[in-house]
Symmetry: C2
Subunit: 230 residues, 2 copies
């Protein structure tokens, strides 16, 4: 029997209307949907997708859980277990649609599962979603980059010792945990700063300068730091 | 009378199924659609969007034309003329839905029109689209960034004198015009390279190494250069 395909499908940043037609169709046409969390219906990805594609509620929902841990061995165990869960269905010839926030190629936990499942000989595929940084820029109604400006996307786990002094725009992802240090860097950079917390979610909040940003900003905080226009 | 709103709406990179539900709804619910080109029905944005949302064919289609010129005064004239075209409808209280390839915050010509129209006191809004680099990464079935890797997006107009030696992944946009120089840099960088030409279009082509990339690659070429996994 032919095995199924594991799809990593982006559901975008929060607003159900920012899901793609393809994401909705894949949910509609397949039976098995994987969600990143312990309880599928409690995941953010589920809550977004079910609003855009109500048939999701009738599907076989499987939880694939990744605890937030810095213990690499524990991470690896969880990724292996997640892959094994998906493979049970792939073996039966069923596709598995793994729904992931934002886009599946940008800091997605799906990547880890994908590597393992591919190593085991299964076929995988990716379906793009709207990234959090594009949505945040749209929310503050500003471009991220124009003309010859580079764009630098820096995740929270990256060392921020350098001083944001390359040309172009910086996007700082999920900086909540070290906001004090980040605010200092931003102030020194002289850049135009905007921050969106929980973009597209009911608890969304927007800040239009470094000074406005609270030291205890949430995990899902995204900062856009542009060069000042001369 | 209340004036209309100018919307910059991303239609994604080529595949009509990568349009968002919101882009389709805005086309459906509004009468005036602006397309970037001399003849609206000949534009790439139109050809993508009409497949996802056939009602587009019945709309009032307005051309907003930007010639590819390096003459900044000529550019400015064209942007002013484009803004004036949109404002004729905004004044009448009609929204204008400007369809743009990819995402409207990433190297979009919409940004120029938006600045002018805002300076004239009108309201604008942005609706995210799938970026070409996310779609290209999905096409080659690889992540762009994982864990603590930064992402650097470098447009063709940016000077490429430096040697792609920052940590993380580089995306080189529209590098077609100086492919010789770019291939040399890529080879020296020792990075894992993939290139997608015309992603999501019928004439799409994928290359999986620097050596495979032809010197005369097309304008819509997107290169992903990742650090080699140890």
């Amino acid at each position: 029997m032919q095995t199924g395909i594991l799809y990593g499908v982006g559901v975008g940043p929060g607003d159900p209307e920012l899901m793609t037609l393809k994401a909705c169709r894949l949910i509609r046409e397949n039976e098995v949907i994987a969600l990143p969390g312990k309880v599928p219906v409690d995941t953010v990805a589920y809550k977004i997708a079910v609003q855009a594609e109500p048939s999701l509620a009738e599907k076989t929902l499987i939880p694939i859980y990744f605890p937030m841990t810095m213990d690499l061995a524990e991470q690896q165990r969880c990724h292996e277990a997640g892959a094994a869960t998906a493979e049970e269905y792939l073996k039966q010839g069923k596709n598995v649609i793994f729904l992931t926030l934002g886009d599946p190629t940008i800091y997605s936990t799906f990547s880890y599962i994908q590597h393992i499942v591919e190593d085991h000989g299964y076929t995988t595929a990716l379906v793009s979603g709207i990234t959090s940084f594009c949505a945040a820029a749209a929310r503050v109604n500003r471009s991220l980059t124009e003309w010859n400006e580079p764009l630098h996307v820096i995740p929270a786990r990256q060392n921020l010792d350098h001083s944001l002094n390359a040309p172009g725009t910086y996007v700082l992802m999920k900086s909540g945990s070290k906001m004090n240090q980040v605010k200092k860097l931003l102030a020194e950079s002289g850049r135009e700063v905007a921050m969106v917390e929980n973009c597209g979610m009911p608890e969304e909040h927007v800040y239009y300068s470094t000074e406005e940003i609270p030291d205890d900003a949430g995990y899902y905080s995204l900062i856009i730091a542009k060069e000042k226009r001369s």
